[in-house]
């Protein structure tokens, strides 16, 4: 038996829960076919989430899942340019016409899909992003040039969560694009980091479960990490990464959301209508982090 999981036509963080629901109980007992034919657009969150699904299925011992490439040549070419298919071939059996083009990071892609497996990968992405980040953040989003370093810092810290906590590898991608519905049509830079690892609840269970008592679960684990800055390590210096990211985001009206297991917790700025906490979501393995930095608005009056 094969279970078909459809990729939403417009695949971003808002459409992700529908995608996650397609897998049913985890791990699925049937072979999975991820059908990307209807896809017309995918955010970095969508692309890294797709790879995470494939990776998690393989690591759970399931039969290698199938992936049909987007029906639109433009879409599949764009995905190829971001480097998606290079890594998708490792975790999916690909079906359909995969464009034979070299990844070259289109102009709105600050960082194509990149695997994060160790500290050296974090060095690599931080080194690669700085020039492009300055061009996009300062040139397009109207953020002070000095904020570029803070952006790279947020990227570094969010990637390190994979290395330090996931227990397996993950993926990062950074794009800049125009938000059509939210943000009044403004552009934003978006960092998406996703892993297929143990998730926040299992990572923090040994040190935090007792403290939260009956409340313990995916929402409480996310609260412990994002609100209280706790870590599974007893080292008192741990937990500063997310605290530092939040400080940076507060200055630039940015947003962070973390989905892990069956919950998602976000620090929601005024421009967004997202709920701070969503629980009881369809299960998805590991953790998915999205950081959004919007274009700054011209002062009025």
């Amino acid at each position: 038996m094969t279970r078909v999981v459809e990729v939403p036509a417009f695949f971003d963080d808002r459409a992700f829960d529908g995608f996650a629901a397609g897998f049913g109980a985890w791990p699925p007992t049937e072979r999975i076919l991820v059908d990307a034919r209807p896809a017309t657009w995918a955010s970095p969150y969508g692309l890294t989430g797709l790879l995470t699904a494939g990776q998690a299925l393989v690591e759970a011992g399931c039969e290698k899942p199938l992936l049909t490439v987007p029906a639109s040549d433009d879409v599949s070419r764009y995905w190829a340019r971001t480097g998606f298919f290079r890594y998708a071939a490792e975790v999916f059996e690909l079906h359909g016409k995969v464009p034979r083009i070299k990844p070259d990071d289109p102009s709105d892609v600050l960082l194509g899909v990149t695997p994060i497996r160790g500290a050296e990968d974090v060095h690599d992405v931080v080194g690669r992003i700085q020039e492009g980040a300055s061009r996009i953040l300062h040139g397009e989003l109207g953020i002070e040039a000095k904020a570029t370093m803070g952006f790279a810092m947020a990227l570094s810290e969010s990637c390190q969560n994979i290395v330090e906590h996931a227990g397996t590898g993950g993926w990062v991608a950074v794009h800049a694009y125009t938000f059509r519905k939210r943000l009044g049509g403004r552009r934003a830079a978006v960092i998406a980091v996703s892993d297929a690892g143990i998730g926040f609840r299992r990572s923090l269970e040994a040190t935090q479960m007792k403290r939260f008592g009956e409340r313990w679960g995916d929402p409480a684990a996310l609260e412990a990490a994002l609100v209280h800055h706790t870590s599974r390590f007893r080292d008192p210096g741990r937990g500063q990464g997310l605290a530092g990211i939040k400080r940076y985001l507060a200055r630039w009206q940015g947003k962070i959301s973390i989905r892990s297991g069956t919950a998602r917790l976000a620090i929601v700025p005024a421009w967004d209508e997202d709920v701070p906490l969503a629980s009881g979501l369809p299960f998805f393995p590991g953790a998915q982090v999205q950081i959004t930095i919007p274009a700054q608005q011209e002062p009025t009056g």
Partner: protein
Amino acid sequence: MIQTIRLDHVLREAVRTPYADLVTRPTGAAVRDRIRQALAEPSCRGACLDFSAVGLVDFSCADEVVAKLLLDLPPEDAPYLLLAGLSESHREAIDHVLEWHSLAVAAFLAAGGRPAVLGRVDPDARAAFERIADAGQGTSDEVAAGLGWPTERAAAALRTLALLRLVQAAGATYCLLLPPA
């Protein structure tokens, strides 16, 4: 002797990367170990960590390099530690991690200006440091006169600074530590 330690050099020796960024905890721990070795030399009374050719410093690496180095210093007769060549983003990351641990260090910014205390000190100690930083050195009486405080208040603030090894006490005079020329 206070020796200058160029962190870009240490980074290159500690991890094989073409980048000049101090990021990740393993990198920070490797860099800290190298600094510790330098501080363990019998002739070393302190170190000035030179960040001027370092790109990005993230919070995790700042914690490993600066905060943990300060936490590991012996309680008695610890070497002095200064930071130099800091950019605004370096300053922000290091200040954040030192606040987190309630630590403090004296720092010289790449952009120039008065040296600053990064991290957490009480307001009196911070004001006294700024006074010493402006004058280069001073006694309790001089700092008290400059700040309009009773002498005892200035003396207590200067003792705190000396205990935190943010200034050097030489008899009744408290001196700013400067990076080696």
